[in-house]
Amino acid sequence: MSYELIGITVLWFFLYGYLIVASIDFGAGFFAYYARVTKKDHIINQLISRYLSPVWEVTNVFFVFFFVGLVGFFPDTAYYYGQSLLIPGSIAIVLLAIRGSFYAFESYGSKDNAVYMFFYGATGLLIPASLSTALTISEGGFIEETANGVQLLYGELLTSPYSWSVVFLALVSVLYISAMFLTYYADRAGDKPALELVRKYALFWSSPTIIASLTTFIALSQQNLDHFQRALELWWVFGISVAFFMVAVFLIYIGRYYGLAFIAVMLQFLFAFFGYGASHLPYILRPYITLTSGVTHESMAIALIVAFIAGLCLLIPSLILLMRMFLFDAEYVKGKK
């Protein structure tokens, strides 16, 4: 495997990791606020905060990893994405900053503050929407290189059906993934009322998810026929993804094996995400950066890969420790510790 392929695969795994953990977090924020508005907060908010408190920082690091690694492996992305994403990127930073800090203010400082809760819920939906812009513009046609540098074509972006379908897909998948996870977590905690509530959310958000995936696919054929055709060649990957989707929804529907159901959700997104990524190649940013044109020098690529492996040797045991103490420690989950 070439360095650039290793690099992009590793980065894609990180983005996938962020997609899962951040969706759980973003969606949970929204559900917590929604439950408060509908006066059901006593049922699930305890559950949500017990899970979120120990892990929110870890979620953020996944994202930092991705963009720092991207600039490291493919320095040209700093130039093209940096120039064109100044506004959407800055908005995303502001939202992330408000979310992260308000979460900490709320949970360590003034408990149950309505304003903090509102921001926490609202940013949970706005952040995925603004971050998804980066994926949208990678399809090409949204930026232009002039003598004065690279510019984002806001008119194109805001009127494109593709860009809106990506936003829609991002929103519903966040809610779907999150509800699926909370269902599993509520089951582990043996919290019946919460389980009933989040299970309903999970079933509710499953059909929009699959509809949004289809519309995005169709919109892609309008935006970038080339990419669409390469995706069709990988039809079986997307087929497996849909199969896992059906397994997950079925298990939730019959109300058993919630753990397996969530694993199926993860696999559903793993296949869809890697199918999307593989068919996106060789372009990283169409038509300016390809895998081979954008990659950093060999010595840096090797150094980054070595650092990465060394880092994993440090992190994986620590992460396992974290999970054993909070996520999989039945006593903790049930609120006895």
């Binding site: 930073i93 900490a104 880092g311 510790k337």
Partner: protein
């Protein structure tokens, strides 16, 4: 403000973000060290006062960490958003430590999460203390990695430039450039110093305003002792930094010291003003001291600013930044020494109001010293963003919207700053140390140890 050119606004935006992040980053590096020390003493002496100190510091720390993390994420992204050309070039050479920095954060974040929620989970408290070690290591390592990036901007090496593209890249040489040792040492020691001084300031304020109990007096003794130790370390590191500058970046030292002509036995100019002919007035001159600061020899020759081409000279106002930083450094050293002397000499009362006020001031002053130090170091690199290779104007974004982004981030930092202060105040006002002590360790509070001192 929109009449300013893009590069100037980009600089203002970067300065604002970095100076804001620096507050939280400094605390983020230093406070875990103090927490770990306090918890260890608490276990060794079996004194719950120290354990409570560690617990309460950690609780405040969670708030500052949160702001540190979000503002750090902001800078990480802003580097690409605001300096795209710079990152495209530098990313090729210096991506390694930036990448490793995220590992350090990750490591710190994981163990901080565990540390926070496991105070009462272990039978033997030493296990909980052990969890603080990875937090300390993670914070300090992240300071180390990010500072190597900054060192690289001052002393770029480990690559060759051929018609605008970089080749022959050596990531380790880029990371371990000549600026790295002194810079890392000074940044880390000053973070420890600042955190100790801030915690000392808080203890002093409690004793001044609320009389304070034994708990606060113990906190004060502990933190001032470490302020003193770290102040010595920081002064040594600062001295080494100056010696580094004299050898590798003489224009920064010369501009900072208003040292215009190369000469032997150069005087150190402290404060003062410049008249229209750039002559120094109203300054205190310490004979031959600059030669000593630069080379450790009172008669050594120090290069003057005249040797640097005019368009590559840093602005002269950084002189005040340097002087303020050094003055604060000596103030911290002095006030902490004074306290220690008063404490050891039995007849004197170390808790007299004047001394306590001096210590209360030490906290904010040390944070200011960090900010002055960064402004000195970064503005002293002007006009370069990558010294000798790329100027700030070449590195900046050409997007016309940076001005608006400046306003957006200004608003963000106002919100974050206020939120942070409000929450921290509320957190400790609603839950005074005395009450918490009673709740957590009823047997100690019952002995009324507090009344004896």
């Amino acid at each position: 403000m929109f009449e300013l050119d893009g590069a100037t606004i980009s600089r203002m935006l970067t300065s604002m973000t970095l100076l804001f992040h620096a507050i939280f980053a400094t605390v983020g590096v230093g406070v875990p060290v103090m927490v770990s020390i306090a918890e260890f003493i608490g276990i060794k002496k079996k004194d719950p006062h120290y354990t409570l100190l560690a617990r309460r510091w950690t609780r405040g720390y969670t708030i500052t960490v949160a702001v540190g993390v979000v503002t750090g994420t902001a800078i990480g992204l802003q580097l690409s958003l605001i300096w795209p050309s710079f990152m495209q070039l530098a990313g090729n050479v210096i991506a390694l430590p930036l990448f490793m920095e995220t590992f350090a954060f990750f490591f710190e974040a994981i163990f901080l999460g565990i540390y926070l929620y496991t105070w009462d989970r272990f039978k033997n408290p030493i296990y909980h203390w052990l969890l603080s070690i990875p937090v300390v290591i993670g914070g300090t390592l992240s300071a180390f990695f990010i500072t190597t990036v900054n060192s690289f901007m001052n002393q770029p090496q480990g690559f060759e430039m051929e018609n605008g593209t970089v080749t022959s890249i050596d990531p380790l040489a880029a990371m371990f450039n000549p600026a790295t040792p002194t810079k890392v040492f000074h940044v880390i020691s000053s973070s420890y110093l600042t955190s100790a001084a801030i915690l000392a300031g808080i203890a002093a304020i409690f004793i001044l305003w609320k009389k304070g109990s034994t708990y606060h007096k113990k906190a004060l003794k502990l933190t001032v002792t470490f302020t003193f130790l770290f102040a010595i370390l920081t002064a040594v590191a600062g001295d080494l930094s100056a010696k580094f500058l004299a050898e590798y970046q003489p224009e920064k030292l010369a501009a900072g010291e208003w040292h215009f002509e190369t000469e032997e036995g150069a005087d150190l100019i402290v404060f003062g003003t410049l008249n229209e002919n750039n002559e120094v007035e109203n300054a205190i001159r310490i004979p031959n001291a600059l030669s000593f600061l630069a080379y450790g020899d009172f008669n050594a020759e120090v290069e003057g600013l005249e040797e640097t081409p005019v368009d590559e000279q840093p602005p002269l106002w950084i002189h005040y930044m340097f002087d303020l930083m050094v003055s604060i450094g000596f103030y911290l050293l002095g006030i902490s020494l004074l306290f220690l002397v008063f404490w050891k000499v039995k007849k004197w009362n170390e808790n007299n109001r004047l001394l306590l006020t001096g210590i209360a001031l030490a906290g904010p002053l040390s944070m200011l010293a960090v900010e002055f130090g960064w402004v000195y170091a970064e503005v002293g690199r002007q006009p370069w963003i990558l010294r000798g290779f790329m100027t700030v104007t070449e590195g900046a974004t050409t997007s016309p919207y940076v001005g608006w982004m400046f306003l957006l981030f200004l608003a963000l930092y106002i919100v974050l700053g206020t939120g942070c202060i409000v929450v921290l105040r509320k957190m400790f006002k609603d839950n005074p140390a005395e009450l918490e002590l009673e709740r957590l360790f009823p047997q100690v509070a019952a002995t009324k140890e507090d009344d004896q001192s």
